[in-house]
């Protein structure tokens, strides 16, 4: 796992940075369109949160709808404590905390683990697990 070229990590990190910049500057649902292209058509995930016994599966349309609602409600978002590991030249795994803020106030924090794959030359989000820390 430690024999992959450094520039591979740097290249993927640059893609992830761009996507986060898109998120952080999105103010309307229309701003999210370029982001949605990064979610593979088979993208799916699981959600865990306060009071939930088991994680709940979700599909692409549910995941995208959650993002649209957050932006439509006037929240902004940023990430903290990101860790990226390359599984191979075509796969990456990423952890970060996603924070939604209303003005200066943090209103939600989620731990996210993402799986990315290089598909036909473009990085696509394939699968993620989300654990909501707090409202």
């Amino acid at each position: 796992m430690n024999h992959l070229p450094e520039n591979l990590l740097a290249a993927f990190t640059a893609v992830h940075d761009r996507i986060n910049e898109l998120w952080a500057t999105a103010r309307t649902v229309a701003d999210l369109e370029p982001l949605e292209a990064f979610c593979h058509e088979t993208y799916h995930g699981t959600y865990g949160g306060p009071g939930l016994d088991k994680v709940q599966p979700f599909e692409r349309k549910d995941g995208l709808e959650g993002v649209r609602q957050a932006i439509a409600s006037g929240n902004t978002t940023r990430i903290e404590n990101r860790t990226i590991r390359m599984r191979s030249v075509t796969e990456a795994v990423v952890f970060f905390e996603r924070i939604f803020a209303k003005g200066d106030r943090d209103v939600a924090r989620l731990f996210t683990v993402e799986n990315w794959r290089l598909v036909d030359g473009a990085w696509k989000l394939m699968r993620e697990t989300v654990e909501q820390v707090a409202e």
Binding site: T46, K54, V55, T83, R85, F95, R109, N115
Partner: protein
Amino acid sequence: MNNLPEALREFTAFHDRLSQLAAMGGPETDLGPLEAAIHESYHGAYSNTGLAKPKTFDKREGYDPFVAMRKALGSGHTTRMENRTIRMRNEDEAVVFFEHVVVKDGQDVMRNFFVQTYAKVDGAWKLTRETMEQVAP
């Protein structure tokens, strides 16, 4: 939501103790304190390097999250944690991320991402849920 320094300190000390036990253990290590820290309603969701939905495990269905750990302790592996992040939901609930690295003969042979949730039950911290994502190999 991060305004609980006392609770964070106390939980972190607990998680440190568990992690040291797991990291330093050998074949004769008593895993009792680790096993006692698993809530009876524990659920695990494990993903490997494929794209399928996670496999889910339920303690009440007889799943024992320590089978692999006991095997590892007996085979000369050591483990360490990296990049741990702890957030308190409230005084009685914590959420933790860390990378778990398995080492054999000085080589990292496995790396997994963990997200765990803990709840305080009758004064004792219990692992209620975890998701594991296998990074490598």
